[in-house]
Structure formats: structure tokens, C-alpha cells
Amino acid sequence: MLKIEGLTKRFGKLTAIDNLNLNIPEGLKFGLLGPNGSGKTTLLRMITGLIEPTHGKITLFGKWTPTSRMIRRRVGYMPQQTAVYPGLTVSENIRFFGRIYGLSGRPLEDRLNDILELVELGDKKKEVLSNLSGGMVRRVLLATALIHNPPLLILDEPTAGVDPVLRLKFWDWVDLLVKQGVSIIITTHHISEAERSDQVVFLREGKIIQQGKPFDIMKRFQANNLEAAFVRSTNLK
């Protein structure tokens, strides 16, 4: 589904992503893990076509570029920022993004109701976002990324600043979406929560330092959680 070959991104003298190669198959929960500044968001921004790589190639759904409209329709992106409109209601926000992705009429309304049910915001759909809590706004953000039913969902730190209960709920939703056939790339610096991923990659200073199933990596470093495995892996490098 996603193939990255020799990808490098430089900002002046700083190399944010350094000759990265990665192959992510379809239908997985794929965790991109690493501390702040490890290059996770830069990598996601290149995958979504927001920024261009300095070198290298990204192939998404068999196409060479993520900037084509066909590809964009198939990707849902939930950024780190609360990138929604605080002056609009919950359903107005979700409907807006649905329309931007080409949905309209009955299909849009049906999908809107499904999504509201998924993120448990059905009773808040007429609330203006500025009246909602931070956690609820994060749910709206997820809903706007899902409205066009994308086969690939990219979640950039979806649980940052979220309370532990909602954090668990987020992962439950992720599990549910994967069961529905959605492929998910998720970044987080809460490394231990990514144990629920099918596969993970440890990033550090723009390079992959470990890759594999969470259990295998923990075993490799004789750690009883992913965070400990990450710390040990960075000590080795």
C-alpha cells in the first residue's frame, strides 16, 4: 500500500528524514514511534503531499505521487493540531470536510450519522465546537478525517493531550476501523500505547532504528513493554 524508497528531507542544514526505506502493507495498524523531533510528523507530511521530499520516492496505492487527487480521496488525515472550525457545530464541521471530499446528499448524511455514532458525539452534533471540551474536539477531528471513508487513515499523535480513558477509546476505535478494512498509520510518543499496533517502526533522528511486530521487538530487547524496548534500542545505536 505504501512504499518509501530512499526518502530524505532536509531543512537547511538539518536532516529531518535520512534515507528512509519502508514498506507498509494494507490492512494494518502501523505505529510510527519515536521521541519528539524524531521525524514522525515530517514523514507523515511527505506522505500526505504537504511537503516535498529532498530525495527519494513515495508510492501510495501503486502511484508515484501522493499529490494526485485520486490518491488524496483515499487518504484520511488527522493532524496533531485541532484543525477544525471552532465557530461551526460538530455536524457542520464533519459535513464540511465530507463535501470537500466530494460527498453530498443522502450518502453524506448517512455517513455523518455513522461517524457521529462511532465517535459517540450523536447528542452533541448541534453544539458549536467552542463550547466543547478538548477531548470532544479531538473526537470531532477524528470524525472529519473519517467522513469520506478513506482506505488509509493517518493519525498524527491522536492521543496527545488526551485523558487516559479517551486514549483507550481512541485505540478501540482504531481496532474497529481496522476490522472494517481501513489501514492505519499512527504516530505517538506515548510508546507503550502502540503495543496495540500490528507493526511498529522506531524512528530516531530521521532514521529507522527498529522495525517489526511489537511483541518481537520487546522480545528482542528482553523488555516487558515497548517503551523499555525503545530505550534499550536507542542505547544500542
Binding site: I51, R73, P79, Q80
Partner: protein, 390 residues
Amino acid sequence: MAIRWIALRIIQEIIRDRRTMAFFLLVPIVVMTLIYYALLEDEKAKLGVVTRGVARFYEYPLVSVIEEDEDIEIVSLDIPDKETDPAELDRLIMEEMKKGKAHGILYMDQQLLSERFAGERGAIHIYLEGSRPTSTAAIFSSIAEAMDDLTETMPVVIDAECSAKCANSVNIKAIEIKKHYLYGSEDYRLIDYFLPVFPTFFVFFFTFIISTITFQRERVRGTLERLLIAPVSFSQIILGYISGFIIFSSVQALIIIGYILALIQISFTPHQLFALGVTLFLIMIVALTMGLLASFMAMNEFQAIQFIPLVILPQIFLSDMIWRIESFPLVFQWISYGLPLTHANIISRKVMLQNQSLWENWPQLLSLGGFFLFFMLVMSLVALKRNKNN
């Protein structure tokens, strides 16, 4: 101590933000320069003089007096000396003013002398361009003053047959001044000159500010990025913005136009109002793209706000809105043609005060269209560059 640390933090932040530093230090100089030239106002009203028949003898003394007036500049005209037909002269005089060669033309012929000899007041004719009240007033007052001297140099006897008996009996009646207006009339007030440019300014001002802030907000909260990765093109985003703003700018323009129509003492045709509406639409889309560009070029909200005085103030001073652009040094006059509001103001005044058709102002319409395309192009290039570098 806390005050000291807060002050130090402010100083450190501002020093590191070069654009803010430049703003603090350079903008006051630019604005003061503009104010200086605006208030200096040494532009003179251009006056042409046409004399025929024996009235030619009075041209030199009359011009000599008028030339002493600092507010008047005597200009030469392209009217053939041999042309004496009053109707043709009338047409040629109006033509010269339409071309902008003079703000006013003084015309005298032998009839003045004939009438004086007949014991009548006699008349001179002042043709006034009429759209600039300050020029009209300067010309009128200068000629009125010169008339006293002219009357004195015209000791015409009332009755030629009793010349011996009536040697001291001269015609001391004041010479009549007949005014002919190319545009406007005697009722035309100074405020009527300024009112037509208010709609263009307010639409430009508010659209620019609102679009700068709105787009900056879109960028800061990350929704712009989400639109950029959605299956929509950059031009669709911009056109969407324009469409959204049109409703509010149109309502605003209607309120402003309605209010101005209530204030102004000139009647307008539907065509004039339509032309003003087109002009307002054009200046609105130009202001919108300028606002979006300013927002795109700014790194943060503080820098975006700095663009507001940087863009608005020169347009207030240099767009011929209040101060005559001719009173500024040549370099500022060139700059003024690089400002969209200058072109919008030219159209508004010509359409509203001179009753010109919209299409007669095609160079200005083309300029406004050009500004829109130029800012769109620059914005696309900036967006492309950002896309490569960020």
C-alpha cells in the same frame, strides 16, 4: 524584578523578529514622509487663456497678474490662433479640458470691448473642468482678483459722442464672469469630490483586513493544511474564499453606496451605480488576494497584522483619495500607479463625477484585473515554495 524580566523578554523577542524591528523603525519614516508631502501640497491649478480680436491686447497684463498667484500655473493650449468661430472655440476649449491640459480656461473676445463701449458690464468666460473643487476655487478666486486690475485698465467711455463733456465719465461697472462647467456645476461641493472614493476605500480596507486575519487563522489552526491535502486545488480554495466574502462585501458596499447617495448632492444614473458596483467588485477581489498573500507571507499572526498599516497607509496617501498625487515627488507618483486603490479611485471619480462610461476607463479596469492575476500568481509561487521548503 518581574517588570524587568517581562520587559527583557519583550525586547529579546522583538529584536529576534527582524520584520517587526523593520516595522518599528521604518514604517514611521515612510508614513511621516507621506504626511509631509501630503500637507506640503504645492500642486497648482492649470489655467489656459484664450483671447480673440482686440481682447488680445489685454491678455498680457491679465496673465501677468494671474501669474503672481502661487496657486495658478498658466499653461499653453493647442487651439489654433486663427480659429475665431465662437461655437468651434467652445468645443476646442472643452476638448482641451477633457484631455486634462487645464483645470480652467479663460476666454475673452472683442465682444467684451463692444459691450464696455456700449456702457454695459461686458463679460469674460471661464470654462471650468469642475471635477476638482480646489482647482476650481483657486482659478475662480485668482481670476476674480485679476478682474479688478482689468477693469481699471479698461477706461471705456459710456458715450463716445459726448467724449469732451463726459471725459471723466468711464464705465466702472464690474465685468461679468460667465462660468461654463465641463463637469458638475456651481452647486458642486468639496465633499462631493471625496464621496465617490469612499466606497472603494472602505471595501478595500475591510476586505483586506478580514481576509488577512481569516486566512491567517486558517493557517494557524491547521485547517488550511487539511484543505491543501484534500482533493481540491489551490485556486478552488481561493475562489471559495472570494465567493464567501462577496456576500458580505456586497452588503457592505450597498450600505456604503446607499449612505453616500444620501449625502452627495449629485444625481446618479443606474449605469453610474452599476459601474461603481463593478469597480467595487474588482477592488474587493484584489484586496482579498492581497490579504491572502500578506497572510501567506507572514510567519505568524503578529507579522500578518503588520501588513495592515504597510498596505493600507500608502494607499490612503498615494491613491489620490484625499491628497493630490501631483503634489508628491515623481517617485511617489510612480508608486501610486502600483497601488490598486489609485486605479479604483480614478474609475469611481470619472464615472460618478464626469459621467464617463465604465469602458472608457478600460486601462484602469485592466490594471485591476492585472493586480488580481499578479497577486494570485505570487501567492501560488509562495505556496509552491513553502511546499518545497517546509
